[in-house]
Amino acid sequence: MIGIQPSWQEEVKQVAYGIRRRVLEHTVINKGGYLSQACSAAEILATMYIRIMNLGKTDEPLMPLPFTGVPGPNNPNAFTGAIFNGPKGPQYDRFILSPSQYALVLYALLIEVNRMAPEGLHQFNVDGYTVEMIGAMHSPGMEVMTGSLGQGLSQAAGIAMARKLRGDTGKVWVFMSDGEWQSGQNWEALQAISFYKLDNLGIYIDANGQQCDGAMCEVMNIEPFADRLTAFGAKVYRVDGHDLDMLVKPILEPVQQGKPLIVIADTIPWRGIEILKERYPKLHYVRFFTEQEREQYAAILKSL
């Protein structure tokens, strides 16, 4: 296929493997974690970072900074985690993680692409550090507050609007989950994105069909999802979220002037760690209730 070299695919595969391995390891050690999100989103996030987004480089893997206080008029030391995505510049793309419940997966990814030091993950959910369980804007790789689902896309749209007005060539990429599209604010945001023709904004959706209470089709249906997004003015592609070529294909297509790009990436939440399927439909957070269960996962970690 035009523009696709075998080398990037190998790299993505390796990074995706590394994400799953690292999150599984973390889950085994901590007796719990957001493991299914790693399984579903590994290829999407790895492809975004390696093949899709034009991010500035980081000179070396960075160590996360300790907590320096919340932002405020009297706190000049507050910072965002955007530095892990490289320097900002008019030509560079930006990355916004909308469901910050995926923070652990993002941290693992940042380590795999050499943007974050592996030791940084030891600060996960540790008091006084910023590698938070539900990522905040100071957490590695994050730039805005998105833990309250529905606000990420609107904030990204505001950034995209300002960048468009300024004439930046870089894009704003938003990683989203499917469950959060139950929230009305995302539809308000997409309505505005279409109205202002923010074609400098692109969205990849990890459509794993899962949410906190269980399977989305049981909790609150959003289908026909692609039709709804299309009706709201987006150029929508629905692809296999584990197929690297298909994940990249939408950005190789001619740009639809004035329309935001949305890629619904259908994924399997136990992909690569099949034992997770036994927990269906409760996959949002994996917690081990017995030592035996933990050993089962530890054995899988060894075999990976």
Partner: protein, 335 residues
């Protein structure tokens, strides 16, 4: 008294002339919040966001991160009630310079409970990083832009529109954390905010005529609040202090003063004039002010209770407060 019409409409256009980073965001209430002239003058800096306040607030947060200054304009209730989580997380937590102009405070609209902001100060005050300003006259409306724009962080403004009196000289501008003293005295301190200041002025003029010495101060900064002059005035008042606000007595000016007095150990009597933990309904401003005891007569009554005897001030002795007609050319809808 000079009555001005559409003060904000003209003032905003003039003020924003050389500020290319200032954008105005509207949620389908462009004429109703007096930004139609801005839209027509600077169409490239006017963003129509539709009836979608949650997105508007978060979107504005995103814009500020790229160096722009969004000025949100809609009715107050649709800011703090409709989009509270968005204000807290997309704007207040990151301390972003989003300026929110909330119109129709309290009794200023016959639009009923859905349109009357009666607890906005209370709600917004508990948000870290939030600055709260309230306008009470034309000079406030003119000078609030500079003040709001000087704040490093989000600002919520309780805004007035339509026909507004000028109570303060044009050069006597709104300043952060600084009450304006309207009259001096040491029997009682009256602290008023917003449209209550005009009412208080009428009542106090009448009470001064019967020999009372009243310290009257107009409060425009509700948060932060650290005005020593105010506390000093209260401490020096023989009978105590009366707060007067077009807002619930829970969480607004009355609460603020109560907290300040307690923390400073000022042992004076505090009387709070305001909405007594009640919603109100759709009716004229003058009717609502009388019905809910927010007007000049209410202040005279409370002063009488505080000093222990009726003042016997005939209503005819009160200078008539200016009452804007519900159906005015200065407003599009009768809201």
């Amino acid at each position: 008294m000079e009555i001005l019409s559409k003060v904000h409409a003209r003032n905003l256009v003039e003020w924003a002339k050389n500020k290319p980073d200032v954008y105005v965001l509207s949620a389908d209430l462009t004429n109703s919040t007096e930004i139609d002239l801005f839209r027509d003058t600077y169409p490239d800096r006017f963003l129509s966001m539709g009836v979608a306040e949650q997105n508007m607030i978060s979107f504005a947060g995103g814009m500020t991160r790229e160096g722009l200054y969004p000025f949100i304009h809609t009715f107050a209730v649709f800011i703090y009630r409709r989009a509270y989580d968005q204000i807290a997380i997309s704007v207040a937590y990151p301390n972003l310079p989003v300026r929110m102009f909330g119109f129709l405070p309290g009794v200023t609209t016959p639009g009923g409970a859905t349109h009357q902001s009666i607890e906005d100060i209370s709600i917004m005050r508990s948000l870290p990083n939030m600055t709260i300003l309230e306008c009470g006259d034309a000079t406030d409306v003119e000078s609030v832009l500079d003040l709001a724009h000087s704040i490093n962080g989000p600002v919520y403004v309780r805004m007035l529109r339509g026909e507004i009196p000028r109570l303060f000289a044009q050069q006597d501008k709104m300043q952060l954390n600084q009450a304006r003293t309207i009259s001096r005295g040491n029997d009682i301190t009256v602290l008023s905010s917003g449209i209550c200041t005009e009412e208080a002025m009428y009542a106090i003029q009448a009470m001064q005529r019967v020999g009372l010495s009243i310290q009257h101060m107009h409060i425009t900064t509700l948060k932060p609040f650290s005005d020593d002059q105010v506390l000093e005035a209260i401490a020096n008042s023989h009978y105590g202090v009366i707060t007067m606000e077009n807002h619930s007595i829970i969480g607004g000016l009355g609460t603020i003063i109560g907290e300040q007095m307690a923390e400073s150990g000022i042992g004076k009597k505090l009387v709070r004039i305001g909405l007594k933990d009640t919603f109100i309904h759709g009716a004229s401003r003058s009717y609502l002010m009388r019905e809910y005891h927010l007007d000049a007569a209410a202040l005279i009554e409370e002063v009488g209770k505080l000093i222990g005897h009726d003042l016997n001030i005939d209503e005819d002795e009160l200078a008539r407060a200016y009452v804007a007609p519900i159906h005015s050319n200065a407003k599009v809808e009768a809201l």
